[in-house]
């Protein structure tokens, strides 16, 4: 379960941003997680709830926005359905993942003096 190491990286990023903005606490986070990122949103939330205890993020819930995979043809740009063969039915080009592999910190709500 690698979600704990992702939460460690998330926490380090948030703390650096909080310090740069002289925040006294963090009240919320929003992350964007792609369907093909290899990250499980439920496990990420569980890891976050454990990790945030007794830190300046203790009161910060984690909002997870899931991003579905979307494939397009790398040649003609046509959309290619998920679950099918990843080759364009029109021109034979290989599929390219347009979205769905992101592991992004989107937004932090912090309390500043």
């Amino acid at each position: 379960m690698h979600e704990y190491s992702i939460v460690q990286a998330l926490y380090d990023t948030v703390v650096a941003q909080a310090a740069a903005n002289r925040a006294v606490s963090v009240h919320g986070l929003r992350v964007r997680i792609g369907e093909l990122s290899g990250v499980d949103p439920g496990l990420l939330d569980t890891a976050w709830r454990t990790f945030r205890e007794r830190t300046l993020c203790a009161a910060a819930p984690l909002e997870v926005e899931m991003v579905s995979a979307r494939w397009r043809c790398s040649q003609c740009g046509g959309e290619i359905a998920r679950g099918g063969i990843l080759t364009c039915g029109s021109c034979g080009g290989a599929a390219r993942l347009e979205q769905g592999d992101e592991i992004l910190l989107d937004r932090i709500v912090m309390e500043v003096p």
């Binding site: 009240h27 093909l36 937004r107 500043v112």
Partner: protein, 243 residues
């Protein structure tokens, strides 16, 4: 401070960040990659389930490359150094990365391990990841290519069940093909059909470490990749080898 009445209350401020959470790992991976390219070293991240045959494939690779290329390996293992011992016996300059409870290697572990393995004169470096079809796919190590070893005994739908791992693969080695006569319900064609649903550019070889089947094709693939990592080619590609 609350700027409406001067009461001294604090403000809640939203900050749009848009930052990749694993950016630290990506920076270290880029650092590793620059080291490899400077030395024209082909680094391959070898992934797969526990028991898929990763170590056996590397032993067969060492046999095929004996006297032709100098190869090294970093073997990620939760608790033992058995894989590194086997690889050393096969003539590979190998070292273990014992991860404890960590289910994957990351770029910092590889960087640290490189301080303990003389690697600068190697032609190929195989980074044998922890046996796991989920977590290792998430972490860039600085490799030139990802190779997934998938044994015929694992079932035909593994690529569909673990799409992230196979989507990230540059090559899949369908291993243990010597067992196929004993597996009447398993078809390599159906495994390949699964790969085509998760890999945009499906590349695969059916191999057997025991009989040597397919090992020649795999070694040729390595030679082709080796030609692509020369520093001049790397500069032309804008300093990016793995996207």
């Amino acid at each position: 401070m609350c700027d409406s009445c001067g009461c001294g209350d604090t403000n809640l401020v939203p900050l749009e960040v848009q930052q990749r959470i694993l950016s630290d790992n990506e920076r270290t991976a880029t650092h590793n990659r620059h080291h490899f390219v400077e030395r024209a070293l082909l680094a391959i991240n070898v992934m797969g389930s526990p028991g898929a045959g990763k170590t056996a494939v590397l032993e067969a690779t060492a046999k095929a490359l004996a006297g032709c290329r100098l190869i090294g390996a970093l073997a990620g293992d939760l608790a033992t150094d058995h894989d590194a011992t086997r690889l050393t016996a096969a003539g590979i300059r190998a070292s273990s990365i014992t991860t404890g409870s960590a289910c994957h290697l990351d770029a910092a572990m590889v960087h640290h391990a490189l301080h303990h393995l003389p690697w600068a004169d190697l032609d190929y470096l195989f980074i044998e990841n922890v046996g796991n079809l989920v977590c290792p796919a998430v972490y860039d190590l600085g490799q030139a290519a990802n190779v997934v070893v998938l044994a015929v005994t694992e079932g035909e739908d593994k690529p569909l069940k673990y799409p992230v791992m196979f989507h990230k693969a540059d090559l899949v080695l369908i291993s243990k093909t010597d067992l196929l006569p004993h597996l009447p319900d398993i078809s390599v064609e159906r495994i390949v059909d699964s790969l085509r649903r998760v890999m945009p550019n499906p590349a695969y070889f059916a191999v057997s470490a025991r009989t040597g089947e397919g090992i020649g094709s795999w070694v040729n693939w390595l030679h082709e990749r080796e030609a692509q990592i020369a520093p001049a080619h790397y500069a032309e590609a804008g300093g990016r080898l793995h996207v």
